[in-house]
C-alpha cells in the first residue's frame, strides 16, 4: 500500500499529512505549483486517491486529469468543492467527515450568537484597552429566550437547536421538506422564517438551490433587531447585501465563520461592533481535527483493502 499514490490538494493538518505519509506515497499538490504540466505528466496516471478540503476540493478539471482516480476522501463534511456528478459518472467513490465535527460547529454557532448579542469581543477590547477606568460599558442584548430560526435541520442544525433549547430559545426552521419527529415550527419559506425569528442560523449544505439563500428579502425580514449567524458556507449569503444592511443599520448584527472569498472577508465589516468574524474555524479544535483526519485515513484504508467505506457519500 506504500506505493499507492494519494494526492493531497493543499496544506490541511500536519497530523493528517504525517499519517498519510506513513501509509501511502503522498503527493502534495502545492509542491508542484510551479510546474503543473510536468507534475501531471509524471504523476497523473498513478494517483488513485485525492484528499481535499473546503479550500481546494476535486473539481471537474482535476478529476479529468486523473484517469485512475478511485476515491475522493474529503477532509470536511461539506461537499460543495467536489464535482459529485463527475465522480458518479466515473464511478469514483466519495467520502466526507460527518458527525465527528457536528458538536464543534454547533458550539461555535452558539458561541458566535452569544458573542454578538452580549458584545463579548467588544467588552474584552474595552477592558484590554484600559477604557473601563474612564467609564461604563452600557447594555447588551439578552440571549436566553430569543427565538432561533435554523436554515437546514440536518445533523448540525439539530445540534444547534438542542443547545439553544437549553437557553429557553423557541426553535423554528426552514428545510427543503418538513422533518418528521420534531416539534420545532416549520416554515416552507425562508423569508417567513426570518420574519418570525430573532436569530437566524445558516446550517444547510451548499447546493445550487441554497446559493445566496440569505438574500436582501431575508435580511430585510430579519430586520434591525435581528441577527444572522453563518457557520455553513459564505456563498449561502449575498455578501454585498449583508454588508450594506450592517453598515446601514438594517440588520442588528452578525456572527460569521464563513465568507464568499476566504481568506478575505469584507473589510467594511472590520470596524463594526455588532459583527464577530472568525476565520472558518467551525471544526478547528485539536480533538475534532484529529477525529476528522482519522476518519479520512480509515476511509482510504478501507477502500484500498476492499472493505466497506465508513462514511461514503457516493
Amino acid at each position: 500500500m506504500n506505493n499507492t499514490c494519494v494526492l493531497v490538494t493543499c496544506p490541511m493538518f500536519t497530523y493528517l499529512e504525517q499519517e498519510l505519509e506513513t501509509r501511502f506515497n503522498l503527493i502534495k499538490l502545492w509542491d508542484h505549483s510551479s510546474s503543473k504540466a510536468e507534475f501531471f505528466n509524471n504523476y497523473s496516471s498513478s494517483i488513485k486517491a485525492v484528499v481535499g478540503n473546503t479550500k481546494v476540493g476535486a473539481d471537474a478539471k482535476l478529476i479529468d486529469s486523473l484517469p485512475n482516480l478511485e476515491i475522493v476522501a474529503s477532509y470536511s463534511v461539506g461537499l460543495d468543492k467536489i464535482d459529485l456528478d463527475k465522480c458518479k459518472q466515473r464511478g469514483i467513490k466519495v467520502t466526507n467527515t460527518p458527525d465527528v465535527l457536528t458538536d464543534d460547529v454547533a458550539d461555535l454557532a452558539i458561541g458566535l450568537a452569544l458573542a454578538v448579542l452580549r458584545k463579548v469581543c467588544v467588552c474584552d477590547q474595552f477592558v484590554r484597552s484600559g477604557n473601563w477606568i474612564s467609564g461604563d460599558f452600557g447594555l447588551a442584548t439578552k440571549f436566553s429566550g430569543k427565538s432561533v430560526g435554523i436554515v437546514g435541520l440536518g445533523r448540525i442544525g439539530s445540534a444547534i437547536a438542542k443547545r439553544a433549547e437549553a437557553f429557553q430559545c423557541p426553535i423554528s426552521y426552514h428545510s427543503r421538506s418538513k422533518k418528521p419527529n420534531t416539534n420545532y415550527k416549520y416554515y416552507s419559506n425562508i423569508v417567513d422564517l426570518a420574519a418570525n425569528c430573532e436569530i437566524l442560523v445558516v446550517a444547510c449544505a451548499l447546493t445550487e438551490e441554497t446559493h445566496h439563500i440569505v438574500n436582501r428579502k431575508v435580511i430585510d425580514a430579519l430586520g434591525p433587531k435581528g441577527f444572522l449567524i453563518n457557520i455553513a458556507r459564505g456563498a449561502h449569503v449575498d455578501e454585498p447585501e449583508l454588508v450594506s444592511a450592517l453598515l446601514e443599520g438594517r440588520l442588528g448584527g452578525a456572527g460569521l465563520d464563513v465568507f464568499e472569498n476566504e481568506p478575505e472577508p469584507p473589510e467594511q465589516l472590520f470596524a463594526l461592533d455588532n459583527v464577530v468574524l472568525v476565520p472558518h474555524v467551525g471544526s478547528d479544535t485539536g480533538e475534532t481535527s484529529k477525529a476528522m483526519a482519522d476518519l479520512v485515513i480509515s476511509n482510504l484504508e478501507a477502500h484500498f483493502k476492499g472493505k466497506p467505506l465508513l462514511t461514503p457519500v457516493i
Partner: protein, 339 residues
C-alpha cells in the same frame, strides 16, 4: 434633600426611600427609572453633607433603602436610621450589605431574586466558549487583516465532553449546569452543603473539584469563607489544561496567583467578568490571548434592567402597602461577609 414638587402636592405624603449613591440603572436611564406613585426617593448623593450628618438631619423616619453594589449598607448607616425596616438591592450579590446587623435589627432584605440567573449563566457559557474556541482572539485576528497575510489560525479545544466543576450550585450555577449539559459537558459541583435531589457528583472540597474537572466555574457568593477560595492549591489542581470562569466576585480568587498561572502557562485560560480591584485589571492580562474579560457586566442587558425595574418597584410598593415582598432574603441562612 430632593426639592418638593409643587404641582404634585400629594407627593409630600409619600414615604421616602433612601438612595446613597445612584445605581447603575440611574446612570444609564436617568433617575426616574424606579418611579412610582407609592413612594419617593431621598437622594443622599445630591446633598453636600457628609453621609452621617445627612442621615441624622433627614433620614430619621426613613424606613427603606434602595442599595446597589457600589452603595454599601454598613452597620454605621443602619445604626443612624432608627426606623429602617427594609433594604432592597439591585445587585445579585449581598456582600455589600451588613446582613448580621440587618438580622439583629429585624431589617428585611429584598434581593434581585433570580432575575439575573439566565444572563449570568449566558455570560459563563459565552466566556467559556470564547476561551476554548478563541472567539475574541480570532475576531481580532480577522479584523486586523491577518487572515489573508498569516493564514491558519491556531486550533482551539472542544467544549463537548469537558468536565465542568461549578463552585456554588445556586440559581445561577444550576442555570449554567443546564446549559452546559446540552453541549455534552459533565457536571460536578462544590457548595456549602450537598444539594438534595441533585444527581451531579458533589465535592466537599474545592481543590478536589478542581482536580477532577477541565473547566472550573465560580458562581458562589462572596463571604468570609469564600474570600480567596480559589488559591494556588486549587489552580494547581485545575492544571495546565484547565480553564477558569469567574462571574461572581473578584475577591473569591487570589488574583495575583491567577495572573501568575496565566502568564506562566500553568492553566489553559480564563474568562473573567470580575476582579479584585475593579475597574483596575492586572495589566499582564492585556497581552494574553487565552484570557477573555468583561467589565463586571454579566447582568447588563436591556431585558434584565427592565425585569429589575419591575422587581424593585414591586418590592417597594408591596412594602409600603404592607403586602408580602416579592423576593425577601432568608437572613438566617446567610453566611457573613466582613467587608
Amino acid at each position: 434633600m430632593a426639592p418638593e414638587n409643587p404641582s404634585h402636592p400629594s407627593e409630600n405624603d409619600l414615604p421616602y426611600v433612601l438612595i446613597l449613591k445612584p445605581p447603575p440603572s440611574f446612570v444609564i436611564f436617568g433617575d426616574r427609572f424606579f418611579n412610582s406613585t407609592k413612594f419617593r426617593f431621598l437622594k443622599a448623593y445630591e446633598s453636600p453633607l457628609p453621609l452621617a450628618h445627612f442621615l441624622l438631619a433627614h433620614a430619621q423616619s426613613v424606613q427603606a433603602i434602595l442599595s446597589s453594589g457600589g452603595a454599601p449598607v454598613t452597620a454605621d448607616t443602619i445604626r443612624l436610621m432608627p426606623l429602617l425596616r427594609l433594604v432592597v438591592t439591585t445587585s445579585q450579590g449581598l456582600n455589600h450589605i451588613d446582613l448580621s446587623e440587618c438580622r439583629r435589627r429585624g431589617i428585611v432584605v429584598a434581593s434581585a431574586g433570580t432575575i439575573y440567573s439566565a444572563d449570568c449563566a449566558d455570560s459563563v457559557v459565552a466566556l467559556l466558549i470564547d476561551v476554548l474556541r478563541k472567539v475574541s482572539a480570532a475576531d481580532r485576528f480577522v479584523k486586523q487583516g491577518l487572515w489573508s497575510s498569516q493564514g491558519e489560525y491556531p486550533l482551539g479545544s472542544k467544549l463537548g465532553g469537558k468536565r465542568v466543576g461549578i463552585v456554588g450550585l445556586g440559581s445561577i450555577g444550576s442555570e449554567v449546569a443546564k446549559r452546559l449539559e446540552a453541549f455534552g459537558c459533565s457536571i460536578s459541583y462544590n457548595s456549602r452543603k450537598k444539594k438534595p435531589f441533585c444527581s451531579y457528583p458533589f465535592y466537599l472540597n474545592v481543590r478536589e473539584l478542581a482536580a477532577n474537572c477541565d473547566a472550573l466555574i465560580i458562581c458562589c457568593a462572596l463571604t468570609d469563607e469564600t474570600h480567596h477560595l480559589i488559591n494556588k492549591e486549587v489552580l494547581s489542581a485545575l492544571g495546565k489544561d484547565g480553564v477558569i470562569v469567574n462571574i461572581a466576585r473578584g475577591p473569591i480568587m487570589d488574583e495575583k496567583e491567577l495572573v501568575r498561572c496565566l502568564v506562566e502557562g500553568e492553566i489553559r485560560g480564563a474568562g473573567l467578568d470580575v476582579f479584585e480591584h475593579e475597574p483596575d485589571v492586572p495589566n499582564e492580562l492585556f497581552a494574553l490571548d487565552n484570557v477573555v474579560m468583561s467589565p463586571h457586566n454579566a447582568v447588563f442587558t436591556w431585558e434584565s434592567f427592565e425585569d429589575l425595574r419591575k422587581l424593585v418597584v414591586g418590592n417597594l410598593e408591596a412594602f409600603f402597602s404592607n403586602e408580602p415582598l416579592l423576593t425577601p432574603v432568608g437572613l438566617d441562612d446567610q453566611p457573613h461577609f466582613s467587608g
